[in-house]
């Protein structure tokens, strides 16, 4: 047996982040006094340097390494950059919040970095096992982060729920993967695809496995009927952690879906598209209707997130029409654009929740936004932009995300699906408008000035304005998504 040294270069960013995780662990052990500040700075530095490494090693060629368990392509690089970006902003928003609640312990930043590493492994995996390892790494870090406020009953309960259901989903995913292995004799996506293409796989076992894999992915995306954990975890977790859960992991889960279904199981598209159709329709309906009943803004955003993930699935299921793969690129890049747009909006929305919170006070209820226009009209305008963008009103990025996905759906001939999606969007507009209503039409109940560090204020403003700017000029981001996908397929 001869040992071949793998090519480490394409995985430079992952290796760097892994090393930095250890550095942060050690540094925070030895420099106790400044541990949390140091860990924060190191974590942010890690993300920035990792981004630089990713940019430097970026290559439009598709490179496989580590016995083709790892793939370096533009899709992975693009999503990794978005993930660093989202995590870095999430850290920045959460810092003051955590400090106010004495939760800014170095372990938090360590977990964040590990979570990032897990997501990076997910988006660059070319093999079911590496995908699974990345997923578990991300999830375990997130479970711990949800429970980070260890004295809070609600947080621990949420973490427990998340953990048990997450473990169940992981189990299903693994079970499905083993079925696919049984049918195709291969675990890397290329091999699976080839085996299915040559019709050498056992169809029954394969489809059976597909169902389980789909359930696992649906859980991670948080779509109906695998959404039960989403509102409780969003609600129970400290807002800074909710922000983390609601942003970058969605991109990672999207990448997981893309790698598994498009790179591995593309020739079964007819099957998984039908499953996604049900998931998407249920998510859009239930997410939007359940959100109306919420008084807690974190729960409302959780349900709204469910419906947004339904829209992402709408994009994914419009790829193959009666065996014609002509629309695939357009559909998948629309879905990707939607996911990226959602992350940008989600960051800003939870950023606002954190902005309004202060020591001893959680701005969790929609009523806590009352009269924000009178208290601070600038941030009221930012929140309004986020809400209208999520509702899909132009000139904001959410509109073009919806347009892209609906366009793909109509092109695939599912006009009734587009009609259903827009009707549900109207219902969705109702609860987004309610937030605008309390901010602008109601009198403030809480006259306390906003208590937030300048860096959060600047970043949140930039985040809000980005939603408007990308809404006015969506072309760049859209073509980036399309180009990254095209170069990787």
């Amino acid at each position: 047996m001869n040992f071949v040294v793998p090519d480490f270069y394409p995985a430079a960013a992952e290796i760097f982040v892994a090393v930095m995780a250890l550095v942060i662990m050690l540094a925070s052990t030895f420099a106790r006094r400044i541990a949390s500040n140091l860990a924060y700075i190191l974590a942010q530095g890690t993300l920035i340097v990792a981004a630089l490494i990713t940019v430097v090693t970026m290559d439009s060629e598709i490179t496989l390494t580590f016995s083709s368990m790892f793939v370096s392509d533009l899709l992975g690089d693009f999503l990794k950059l978005m993930i660093y970006f989202a995590v870095a902003i999430g850290l920045l928003y959460g810092r003051g919040y955590l400090a106010d609640r004495s939760m800014d312990r170095p372990e938090y930043y360590l977990l964040t970095v590990l979570m990032t590493l897990g997501m990076m492994v997910m988006v660059t995996s070319n093999h079911m096992l590496s995908l699974y390892i990345g997923l578990e790494m991300m999830s375990l870090a997130l479970y711990a982060m949800v429970a980070f406020d260890r004295d809070s009953v609600r947080s621990t309960e949420a973490a427990m729920k998340y953990f048990v259901l997450g473990a169940l989903a992981s189990g299903m995913l693994l079970y499905g993967m083993s079925m696919i292995y049984a049918a195709t004799g291969s675990l890397d996506f290329g091999g699976v695809a080839e085996s299915i293409y040559h019709q050498s796989a056992n169809k029954t076992v394969l489809t059976f496995g597909l169902v389980f894999v789909m359930a696992g992915v649906a859980f991670k995306l948080g779509v109906v009927p695998f959404h039960m954990w989403v509102p409780d975890v969003y609600h129970g977790a400290p807002s800074a952690v909710t922000l983390m859960i609601a942003t970058a992991p969605k991109l990672a889960a999207f990448a997981m879906a893309l790698r598994l279904f498009v790179f591995g199981l593309f020739d079964l598209a007819e099957h998984w598209q039908t499953m996604m159709l049900f998931l998407a329709v249920l998510s859009i309906i239930l997410g939007n209707i359940a959100a109306i009943a919420q008084t807690n803004i974190k729960r409302m955003l959780a349900y709204s997130g469910i419906s947004h993930m339904g829209f992402v699935l709408l994009g994914l299921l419009a790829g193959v029409v009666n065996g014609d793969q002509h629309f695939a690129l357009n559909a998948y890049s629309s879905a990707m654009f939607y996911a990226v747009a959602y992350v940008v909006m989600s960051l800003a929305s939870f950023g606002m929740v954190i902005l309004l919170s202060r020591a001893g006070f959680e701005a969790e209820n929609i009523d806590d936004f009352k009269g924000l226009n009178k208290r601070n009209s600038w941030f009221a305008a930012m929140m309004m932009i986020v809400m209208f963008s999520m509702a899909g009103i132009p000139f904001f990025i959410g509109f073009f995300a919806k347009l892209a996905v609906l366009q793909a759906v109509v092109a695939a001939g599912h006009i009734w699906l587009a009609v259903l999606a827009v009707i549900m969007s109207v219902i969705g507009a109702f609860y987004y408008l309610r937030v605008v209503k309390v901010m602008y039409f109601d009198e403030p109940e809480d006259a306390a000035p906003l208590h937030a560090a300048p860096d959060i204020r600047v970043m949140l403003s930039a985040n809000g304005l980005a939603i408007a700017v990308f809404g006015l000029f969506p072309q760049g981001l859209m073509s980036l998504c399309a180009y990254a996908l095209m170069a990787s397929l």
């Binding site: 509109f399 073009f400 347009l403 827009v422 009707i423 507009a429 109702f430 408008l433 209503k437 039409f441």
Partner: protein, 493 residues
Amino acid sequence: MTGMPLLSLAIWIPILGGLLVLATGSDRNAPLARYLALTVAFLGLVVTIPLWMLFDTSTSAMQFVEFAPWVPRFNINYQLGVDGISMLFVVLNAFITVIVVIAGWQVIQDKVAQYMAAFLIMSGLMNGIFSALDGILFYVFFEASLIPLYLIIGIWGGANRVYAALKFFIYTLVGSLLMLVALLYLFMESGGSFNILTWHQLPLAIGPQTLIFWAFLIAFAVKVPMWPVHTWLPDAHVEAPTGGSVVLAAIALKLGAYGFLRFSLPIVPDAAHAMAPLMITLSLIAVVYIGFVALVQTDMKKLVAYSSIAHMGFVTLGFFMFNALGIEGALVQMISHGFVSGAMFLCIGVLYDRMHSRNIADYGGVVKTMPKFAAFFMLFAMANAGLPGTSGFVGEFMVVLGAVQFDFWVAFFAATTLILGAAYTLWMYKRVIFGRIGNDHVAQLDDIGSREFAFLALLALCVLAMGLYPFPFTEVMHASVDELLRHVAVSKL
């Protein structure tokens, strides 16, 4: 033609100016916000005047065209242009914006900068609607214009403002999102183009045509509003501040009607012909039934709101008879209604500012304390009733003539508007203005000041000018309307 991108200026001067006004911030800078807003509104008006002056009346082609790629990935272009149908609305909109800024000068003391900014931004967006030649660009402006009006009604409105604002928003959104699906379908059918003029030439089978017609109908009927989806309008009008009502009546209602001419008739002409009986019936119900509803109103604003619905019923009636008199009459009616309904709401605003009541029963004998005001109100009330010599007469008369060509019974029912309109408007006028002085509050009323005099006089001039010499208005429409009728007469099947 000039090399200036006039339409872009007409759109972006108010929007960017509005953002600038917003930047003046708190109410300590209110005077600055007011003067800045007036300057911006005036500039916005100035750039639209060349549109009319330099308009080439001999052609039906789009003029002042601008083109730039916007989102090449979906072939969405920033494509602007006006023809005889849309040009006047851009000018009207810019004009009304100036009036609204002046009208809100003293009345609004709370969050002045936001108020002025909302109106300016909305004005720019509505110019965008009238001049967009790209389906998505149209849609984007159409939807975005909901936001400022939602805020205007919700922030500065009356007691039940939240309900009214939400109802307004949701009603309009339902319609416009279905339109989005229709636009995407047309995009696909036309092989990847959002160009409205390309869609005009696109052959379509009757099945898709009917569905597209319905999608557009829901979008535009809500906006017009046509019976039976009109119920949001009285609520929105009653709760909105005066400026909001003026813009709503004078411009926002025209968007739906304009949509019929730009989208429904030329893109799906066969479905439009097939649906014409339905449309005419709905229009006549609006004219007759809503006319009676207006008669029994006790709230002045509600009365004028219902009269707007009836007048807009006249407009849709004119469109769906497919003759030149009908369509031109409807267009004239739209412009005239812009002046007259705007003026009516301003007059009610003048009374409301003094008495804080819109109830007809709270007034009586106002002529004795406010004679100058009573004179203006008289003129506008007469115009609303369609008295010859005022702008209200021209459009109604043309539509009735068109209806006579079309069908006697349609003309018969349409003509009842002349009686009903006179009945509800003049009866209200009589109860508010004439008679004995109703109560002590009326006895202490001050007559209109110079600012109020200025905007009422300006509108009175427009109403009279258009009534006595409508030629400059109809002249610009001929070529475009003729072309539209020729186009609609050819089947696309």
